[in-house]
Amino acid sequence: MSDTVHKTSYMLPIGPVHPALHEPIRLDLEVDGEEILDVDVAAGQVHRGIEWIGMNRNNPVQTIYLAERICGICSACHPFAFVLAVEMAAGIEVPVRADYIRTIVAEVERMHSHLLWAGVAGHEIGFESLFFYVWKIREKVMDLTEVLTGNRNSKAMYQIGGVRRDITPDQLPVIRASLNVYKEAFDELKHLFLDDPTIKARCRYSGVLSTEDALKLCAAGPTARASGVPTDVRQDHPYAAYADLGVTAITPDIVTATVVGDTYDRIIVRLLEVKQSIELIEKALEAMPEGPIITEPKIAKLLAVLKKAEGEGVARVEAPRGENIHYVRMIAGEETLRAWKVRAPTYANLQVVPTMLKGQQIADVPIAFASIDPCMSCSNRAVVTNKTDNSVSFIDGEQMHAMSLEKTRRLNAELAGK
């Protein structure tokens, strides 16, 4: 024991279920007092073997429903990537109008996801009024989703060879009206998030990820862009209607002229992307051509084509959280897919968590971890093991949240004192 008595670091596991973590996952922190020395990520608590069902039980059309349920929020980007991969493998063409509808639905999803995240970010630092305000205006985009797809969340729009519902002329005024709500609210949102001294104090220089680390660890989406990597699947290899619309990756230097790669920068990127999505939807509505929305509306015929198909396909889409990639392999005569691989953006972004949290304080974990926007769940406890005498104590979720609030209050008092 003599060598461990002098050791001042402790192990602090957070999770598998915790309010700071959007999905069940365990972060093992090695801490010295309040400072985080090292982090280990243990994933897999919600691995449900969805890919196995797609490879062994379902036919490709049934697998679309499965892909839709990989994530509660990303019910557009997973089926989107999946149908693109199957279309590539089976050589199925898609009408241009369907490409535009797919794009519009995906952008509505991005608006929803970013607004949801912005609210959560407010909650994580104890800014509850901001959380309620953002979630109040988030309702509008859920109503818009309902107008477009018939559901508030599970969109069920994507089908191999097209989409399942058209955007009709009577929907256009409703869509434009809800977009205007966000256009009007955007300046206020920007002011609330970017000029607030509390948010600046908590988020500036917290969870920093350098450009070099983001490239090295293959970070994706807003996490990479906030670190100054100008990558966006919609810009790099545009799919569907994005090639016509022209997307430029948003990096934080547009607003602040510098790239820090911290939580504050990630807020900037997501906020600007809400505005970018509004503009893309408007452009797409303007340019959307008339025509059919699906190449083969009869499912039985489509399944017969898919059963005969031989080949493989890979597709990337820019999900709200970053690059989402699906790979499928089809063998002629087999009803199910031979292989289906899904890589959601959080898979890539989890790898940067240790780098981001090292040197931070425990109270920064909720907001810094939430800033990569990992997908979401709820909490009960974390265990603190004291290495010197092997005693075990518990920090529950409320206590950690309280620590985060305490830090905000302390910083506020300091700011007021200045």
Binding site: A43, G44, W52, L217, C218, D236, H237, A249, R329, R343
Partner: protein
């Protein structure tokens, strides 16, 4: 950044790999009203040429974006497909690059690439636990998604006797494991 056309990319691989490039295929598809061409590049590479191919990819673009490894059980062989995005950060210039290595089931081993691309560690850990591929030199060989009490020697994505069939409790038309 010097951006090459897909054909030139293949030629550069041919020169760099010295015969280890077995096959290549360019997939092109027109998207949108303006008929922009979406390109993906599929290269079949011998195992000996695998590390040189990764080095060469890093020559084409400093720090190329690595996405994931996908694994396919093809009865006698296993295909490992390394998915890259080449020329990211350039408007409409990127190429989806897929490097395929076919391994016989008698020798499922592949060298690690984490020394060149540290962000590949999760994909390599997943390939080990899900497909039973041995990644030689992997810095962290713990399981990633599968729980610690899952039996050794069963790989969920395999379609042979090492697959998870006997672990299944309910599967139409299949005999499940008998629990007491």
């Amino acid at each position: 950044m010097n951006v090459l056309e897909p054909k030139a990319v293949i030629q550069s691989f041919e020169r760099a790999l010295d015969g280890a490039l077995l096959n290549s295929h360019i997939y092109e598809r027109e998207v949108g009203l303006n008929k922009h061409v979406y390109t993906s590049l599929w290269l079949d590479i011998e195992r000996d040429g695998f590390r040189p191919a990764i080095y060469h990819t890093c020559q084409l673009q400093d720090r190329p974006h690595f996405s994931v490894i996908s694994e396919v059980d093809l009865d006698d062989t296993v295909d490992l497909l390394y998915h890259f995005s080449l020329y990211t950060g350039e408007l409409r210039k990127a190429i989806a690059l897929v490097l395929r290595i076919t391994l016989p089931k008698t020798d499922l081993s592949i060298p690690t690439i984490t020394d060149i691309i540290p962000g590949a560690i999760f994909a390599e850990r997943e390939a080990q636990e899900m497909m039973g591929v041995k990644v030689v030199g992997i810095p962290d060989d713990r399981r990633l998604f599968i729980p610690e009490d899952f039996p050794e020697g069963i790989y969920p994505w395999r379609r042979d006797e090492t697959g998870p069939d006997k672990m299944l409790k309910v599967m139409p038309g299949k005999q499940g494991i008998q629990y007491e």
